[in-house]
Symmetry: C2
Subunit: 178 residues, 2 copies
DNA sequence: GAAGTGATGTGACTTGGTAACATCACCATA
DNA sequence: TATGGTGATGTTACCAAGTCACATCACTTC
């Protein structure tokens, strides 16, 4: 993953072949594809871990918690995994993804899968549709909006703080929608 | 597009090569790629048209209309394009997409682009963030949920009716979120 | 009728991605 | 110590997606 991100920023995503990535990592193309489904995935791996963070936190939320409270707890658990030393990785990742449609596609689906996982976890708590998915999508949206701010090197706050604040803003904007 | 959908349902998406699609359409692989960015796109073409329907309708909405009213008008314009004779196309499309991650990715991005276009159109009306994008995303979600129902051959209602009803349900669920 | 234009075909090429088989390190147990 | 199993990697060959340069052909326009 490090080799890939280096090469992508050095030469661009398109100009980098999987063979080059594997070479720099001291491996072979075949081995690369044993670890990543395709060339894109090297930038998005580790999703299962994130999903587990979200769903475990929702499972562990206190019984009387409202859907949004459970989502908020899940986001706390999720964002705690993004320590400040990872901020620059996010910063280098963002422009690469922004410049390539195929990467945006992967990103869009990953996002949807995160929301879906959280939706399912809410269902297990007895939250019905469409409440569950609306709460989940709102939470994921807050996370992504906050991530964008966090990836900016100028930002000093933690991802957790930014996500909480963003979720609050979205909630008040929602209340004023009608 | 017809040739591709036929072959996909006959032999499966993976087992169908672009050469086969082009052959059945009486064309060449090269010509295929002049019309579609890649193999997936043959199932998703025509998005520009849909975007124009949405944005034109929002531009044309009366000045005092609220964001959600403008979105609702846009959805009416959009869904009017899906006449009942297209219902079976949607029905055949759905399982193919559901069975292939690469197609779900494309679908997820298309959906995001529709919401983005509507968001921009709302900005032009003076609607600010995050109200604009929340209204747009809610509308697109209503459209996709309704489309799923509409693609079911058992359903007898028009896509416009289904979308209006779904949007209403989402709004009431939102109001009860807190 | 000549020149321009747009859509298509041809053939060669790169690279992402897969599959079959071989190798090697490591570990367990007889 | 030897034997065999297991998991990760390498080797090789292959297929199909996608690109490119060039040729062709129909059709328009002056």
């Amino acid at each position: 993953m490090r080799a890939a991100l280096e090469l992508f920023t050095e030469q661009g995503y398109d100009a980098t072949t999987v063979n080059e990535i594997a070479d720099r990592a001291g491996l072979t193309k075949t081995t690369f594809f044993r670890h990543f489904r395709d060339k894109r995935e090297v930038l998005f791996a580790g999703q299962d871990t994130l999903i587990r963070l979200l769903t475990d936190a929702i499972d562990a939320a206190p019984g009387p918690a409202t859907p949004l409270e459970a989502v908020s707890a899940a986001l706390d658990a999720l964002t705690a995994a993004f320590t400040d030393d990872r901020r620059d990785v996010g910063a280098r990742l963002r422009p690469v993804i922004a410049g390539h449609t195929e990467l945006q596609e992967r990103s869009a689906l990953k996002r949807a899968k995160l929301a879906e996982a959280m939706t399912d976890a809410l269902h297990k708590r007895g939250v019905s549709e469409p409440t569950a998915s609306l709460a989940a999508e709102l939470g994921i949206r807050a996370f992504y909006d906050a991530f964008d701010q966090w990836a900016d090197p100028a930002s000093k706050r933690t991802l957790t703080e930014l996500t909480r604040r963003t979720l609050d803003e979205l909630r008040t904007a929602l209340a004023a929608l009608d």
